[in-house]
C-alpha cells in the first residue's frame, strides 16, 4: 500500500484498502476557521448537543481577523462561545494565534500516521509531516463534531520523484508551482501526491509545508511525505513528549509499492517559478516575467509565511528600500513566528525598507482585508491561489511566487530573479 492507503486502512480498522473503496475513519484532529466554523457549528447544533471528542477539535479565527467588521466579529464570537460551551480548549484567541496551517504544526498537533481534517482547502499542508491531511466542508466538520469520524473514498496515489541538485534560490514553492504547471489545476484530481526522492529527503520542513500546501491546486485530495529524520527533528522541537514515546516511529510505503502514476522531475535546471494570472498552473520561469510591473507585494500566508521565508526575504531586503509606487505587506504566519522575526531583526529590516508589517492573518490572500486590490492593480504574492478576483477587484491580477522572488520584486517594482539583487 501507499502511505495514504496505509493510514486510511489503519484508521478504518481494516488490514488493507484499495483506491475507489469507501471508508469511515476515526479522525485524530478536526478544525475550522472563522468562516467555515460557524456554519459547521450551526449544522452540528441541529443534530446534537455534545461534541464527541472536544480534545480533538481546534477552532482558529484567522481569515477575517483581527475582525474586519461587525459581521466578522459575530463569526468569531460564535467560535468563542461554542468553545466555552463544549470545553474545546483549542480555541486560539487573537494575539495568541496564527494562520491555521502554520499554527497547528507549531502547536505539536500534527503527527505522522494520523488523520487530520480541516474545513479549509489548504489542510493538505499537514501531509508534510506524514499525516493524511485533507480539506473538507463545513458539513463534514459537523459530522466529525457529532461522531469523531469522516467518510472518504480511497484515492489513487501519484508519486512525484524529485532528484538532482537544487539550484540557488529554488525551494519548495518553486517545486510545487513547477509541478502544477505540468499537471494543470485538475491533473491530480481526486489523487494523493506522494513526494519522494533525494531532493525531498534533504528538503527543510518549511519547504515541505509549502509543497504540500499547494497540492490542492492540482486538484489533489492530499499531499504526503514519509516521515524521516527531518520530520522527527521538527517534532522533537514542537512535541517532544510524542517523540519520546515513539522513538522508533516509521511510516513508509510498502517496498515494491505500485503507484497509479509516477512523475520524475530533475530539479537541477529549474529556475524560481512564478504562476501568472489567472490559474495557479499558469507557471513560468521567473526570468520570463521580468517586465511585469507591480503595485503590491505580499509576503505571508500558510504557504510561505514561516520563519525561513521571512529570513530569506529579510536577507534580500536588508539595507534596501521598497520601490516607489509599490507597497510591500509582510505577514508572519503565527504569533511565535512574529516574535522570532522580531528577535532576529527581520521585522526591523522590513519596516526600515518601507514595508507594512501585520499581525498574523489570512486577510489579503482571499481578498478579505489587510491588502485588497483595486481595479487594474497587479500583485505578486507568496500565497497559493490567483483565480479572477481572488485578492480583490475582478479586474485585478495576482502572480504567485516564493518569498525570495517576492522580496527581490518589492525592491525593483517588477517581477525579479533574486540573484539580480
Amino acid at each position: 500500500m501507499t502511505l495514504t492507503e496505509k493510514i486510511l486502512a489503519k484508521k478504518a480498522g481494516r488490514p488493507e484498502v484499495k483506491p475507489g473503496e469507501f471508508v469511515l475513519v476515526d479522525v485524530d484532529l478536526g478544525f475550522a476557521n472563522d468562516l467555515t466554523g460557524p456554519p459547521a457549528i450551526k449544522e452540528f447544533e441541529k443534530y446534537g448537543d455534545k461534541v464527541f471528542a472536544p480534545e480533538k477539535v481546534a477552532l482558529i479565527p484567522d481569515h477575517f481577523t483581527p475582525c474586519k467588521d461587525i459581521d466578522s466579529a459575530g463569526l468569531v464570537r460564535i467560535l468563542r462561545e461554542f468553545s466555552r460551551k463544549q470545553n474545546i480548549s483549542r480555541f486560539y484567541e487573537i494575539g495568541r494565534m496564527g494562520v491555521e496551517h502554520a499554527l497547528l504544526p507549531e502547536e505539536g498537533l500534527i503527527l505522522p500516521g494520523t488523520i487530520v481534517i480541516g474545513a479549509d482547502s489548504h489542510t493538505c499542508t499537514h501531509g508534510a509531516l506524514g499525516a493524511f491531511a485533507t480539506g473538507v466542508g463545513s458539513t463534514d466538520l459537523a459530522f466529525f463534531l457529532l461522531t469523531g469520524k469522516a467518510w472518504f473514498r480511497v484515492p489513487e496515489t501519484i508519486a512525484v520523484e524529485f532528484s538532482g541538485k537544487l539550484p540557488e534560490w529554488v525551494g519548495g514553492k518553486d517545486l510545487i508551482l513547477y509541478l502544477i504547471s505540468k499537471t494543470g489545476v485538475d491533473g491530480a484530481r481526486y489523487k494523493a501526491f506522494e513526494f519522494i526522492g533525494p531532493v525531498i529527503s534533504g528538503l527543510p520542513v518549511d519547504d515541505r509545508f509549502s509543497m504540500c500546501n499547494m497540492t490542492i491546486e492540482a486538484g489533489a485530495k492530499n499531499g504526503i511525505i514519509a516521515p524521516d529524520r527531518i520530520t522527527m527533528d521538527y517534532l522533537r522541537h514542537v512535541n517532544p513528549d510524542w517523540v519520546n514515546s515513539h522513538p522508533d516511529f516509521t511510516l513508509n510505503p510498502d517496498p515494491g509499492v505500485i503507484y497509479s502514476k509516477k512523475i520524475e522531475i530533475d530539479v537541477s535546471k529549474l529556475e524560481p517559478f512564478v504562476a501568472a494570472p489567472d490559474l495557479p498552473s499558469n507557471g513560468y520561469p521567473v526570468s520570463q516575467l521580468s517586465d511585469v510591473k507591480l503595485d503590491q507585494v505580499l509576503i505571508g500566508s500558510c504557504t510561505n509565511g514561516r520563519i525561513s521565508d521571512l529570513k530569506i526575504a529579510a536577507g534580500i531586503l536588508k539595507g534596501k528600500k521598497v520601490a516607489k509606487n509599490l507597497r510591500l505587506i509582510v505577514i508572519p504566519a503565527t504569533q511565535k513566528i512574529w516574535q522570532e522575526a522580531l528577535d532576529d531583526g527581520y521585522l526591523k529590516t522590513f519596516v526600515e525598507s518601507g514595508a507594512a508589517v501585520s499581525t498574523p492573518t489570512c486577510g489579503p490572500c482571499l481578498g478579505g482585508h489587510m491588502g485588497v486590490l483595486a481595479e487594474g492593480e497587479v500583485a505578486l504574492s507568496t500565497t497559493n491561489r490567483n483565480f479572477v478576483g481572488r485578492m480583490g477587484h475582478p479586474r485585478s491580477k495576482v502572480y504567485l511566487s516564493s518569498a525570495a522572488v517576492a522580496a527581490a520584486s518589492a525592491i525593483t517594482g517588477y517581477i525579479t530573479h533574486p540573484s539580480s539583487i
Binding site: T36, E43, G118, D120, S121, G137, A142, R153, D186, G219
Partner: protein, 167 residues
C-alpha cells in the same frame, strides 16, 4: 428523483471564488449567499435564475476553496442540480453532504446547450434534453453517496442510520 429545469452553461475550472467571492462570506445562509452567486462573472446571474434551473459545465467545476458557501450560493440562487464533465473533489463532497444532486457526464455536459429544457431522472439514471430530443445515460453513482443525497445530506442520513453503514 426527477428534476426538471432550464440550463445555464459554464466552461472549465469554474472556481469557488467565482461562485461566491470571499467578500460575501460573513454570511452563510443560502438565501443571502444566493444573491451574489457568480456575481463577478455576471452581476445579474442570480436574478436570471428560476428555481429549478440546472447548470451545465465543463471540467473541474467548483475548484479552489473548500467553502461550502459555494454550494449554498448555488442552492440559494435556485439551482437544483449541476451536470459537469468533472467536479473538483471538495465541491463534490460538499454537494453530496448538503444534498445537491451533481452528475458527472462528459457527454451531456458537452452536448447540452444553454437554455435547453432538461429532465434529470436519478432513479432511472438518465438525462433527457426535451429541447433537442436527446438522451444521456448517467454513470451509476456509488450507493453510499446516493443514499446521502437521497436523504437530504450527510447529517440527516447519519442520524437516521442506526448502525455503522460501512463495515
Amino acid at each position: 428523483m426527477k428534476l426538471k429545469g432550464k440550463t445555464w452553461k459554464f466552461g472549465d475550472n469554474i472556481n469557488t471564488d467565482l461562485i461566491i467571492p470571499a467578500r460575501y462570506m460573513t454570511a452563510y445562509e443560502a438565501a443571502e449567499l444566493g444573491k451574489h452567486c457568480m456575481e463577478d462573472a455576471d452581476p445579474e446571474f442570480s436574478k436570471k435564475i428560476q428555481p429549478g434551473d440546472i447548470i451545465v459545465a465543463g471540467e473541474n467545476f467548483g475548484c479552489g476553496s473548500s467553502r461550502e458557501h459555494a454550494v449554498l450560493a448555488l442552492k440559494g440562487a435556485g439551482i437544483s442540480a449541476i451536470i459537469a464533465k468533472s467536479f473538483a473533489r471538495i465541491f463534490f463532497r460538499n454537494a453530496i453532504n448538503t444534498g445537491l444532486p451533481i452528475i458527472e457526464s462528459p457527454e451531456a455536459a458537452a452536448t447540452i446547450k444553454e437554455g435547453a429544457e432538461i429532465v434529470i431522472d436519478l432513479t432511472a439514471g438518465q438525462i433527457k434534453n426535451l429541447t433537442e430530443n436527446q438522451h444521456f445515460a448517467i454513470k451509476e453513482f456509488p450507493e453510499f453517496l446516493t443514499k446521502i443525497v437521497e436523504n437530504g445530506g450527510l447529517l440527516r442520513w447519519a442520524t437516521k442510520e442506526k448502525k455503522e453503514p460501512i463495515k
